[in-house]
Subunit: 205 residues, 2 copies
DNA sequence: GAACTTTCTTGACAAGCTGTCAATAGGGAT
DNA sequence: ATCCCTATTGACAGCTTGTCAAGAAAGTTC
């Protein structure tokens, strides 16, 4: 596995290789088990090289989480040409698919990052903010009024959806609910609408 | 601070003292920064004593989290004599108060525990389950039908409430919402009702 | 094509924390 | 005052992070 002769890559290639290995590891192991020791052995390079590129273990974690987060955000990017509720449904459908296909990664992102360093947490936090903004845009377009409480509600709904996805998404563990994907997406759409409507009593669908 | 002469306590007293110090530290620091090293120095005992009582760092964490969790569950225990919705409102009111008075502890519990060891996570998970069960009981008593999806929804709503509490509860950081406690409780009650109703279309209030 | 330069890469070292175990000593019992 | 149980500890080993001066690929120049 480890090349006898030391190979010299451009900083971009080397960095990308190391981050990619780290991201791949998130599919099987939680973030905190991604040690400099392990990754350097896996990549066949010295530990010092990792410190050269990332400065610290947390620096490595930050980059790995950032890349994993961006791949999730890209996979679930809303289609602007769709009507609001269709757009929401489309995004949620793709999130359900993403979770089924990259369950470990999704879990590591939304669950396995909370207790570590603050900066790493903020990288994931930005994903939550982005997802919340997407949902806010949907309901503003549907005529709701933009209030701080609406944003808090939908930001919290993102946590709601993450919990539901982790616990009960298609193919996850015991799957006590036993819903089809589209039924589960229905559930998410209805809950989002219900939460949003519960803070905007003047709104009528 | 450290007694020159070694003092010998009963196992119960010593264990309680160490756990109490650990719980107190959760108010200021995240769980993962609670090291054997630090706690032993703080308590004025040897590190070996901590290993004697808790076996490992994770064992210590488990006990500390268990005690902190139980204090939160006890502080928010529902009053059985109240009507369902009043009981929910009462519990939520006390949770809001608990979060304001023990913000650091609450944060450490619901956010700072996720990425560490599995057993520690399950200790906190049991609190979520308990809280979810309390809410489920409320809506069953209000005539909703008990389905797996209702339980998933309300379990996810607990995550929703935790997020809202952490981000916007009274006295928390920037507090962009600026609600009074009872208005915030209103918001939580309405959102719970909305979520529950969104999965039980046959139900009428 | 050999010397040179750049910089990618590494081995060696220091420090901190977890975990182990035989040995020590506090304090109640006799 | 002495004995005995067991709460407590010092010393040791192992693993991981982080530092730094030195080593060695490749491209460049003559």
């Amino acid at each position: 596995m480890a090349a006898e002769r030391r190979t010299r890559l451009t900083p971009e290639d080397r960095s990308a290789q190391l981050i990619a290995l780290g991201v791949a590891s998130l599919a099987d192991r939680p973030l905190h088990s991604l040690s400099i020791e392990w990754l350097s052995a896996e990549a066949g390079v010295s530990r010092a090289l990792l410190f050269h590129y990332f400065g610290s273990k947390q620096g490595l974690h930050r980059e790995v989480v950032r890349v994993a987060r961006d791949s999730m955000l890209r996979a679930t990017e809303p289609s602007p040409e769709l009507e609001p509720l269709d757009r929401l449904r489309d995004t949620l459908t793709r999130i359900v698919r993403f979770v089924r296909e990259h369950r470990g990664t999704f879990y590591s992102l939304v669950r396995g990052v909370a207790s570590v360093d603050l900066e790493v947490r903020e990288v994931v936090e930005q994903a939550r903010i982005e997802q919340a903004n997407r949902v806010v845009a949907v309901f503003l377009q549907l005529g709701m009024t933009d209030t701080p409480l609406l944003r808090v509600a939908l930001r919290s709904w993102v946590a709601f959806a993450e919990e539901a996805l982790v616990e009960s998404a298609a193919g996850a563990g015991p799957d006590p609910v036993g819903l089809q994907d589209d039924e589960f997406v229905d559930f998410l759409v209805r809950s989002a609408t219900a939460v949003a409507a519960s803070v905007d009593s003047a709104w009528k669908s």
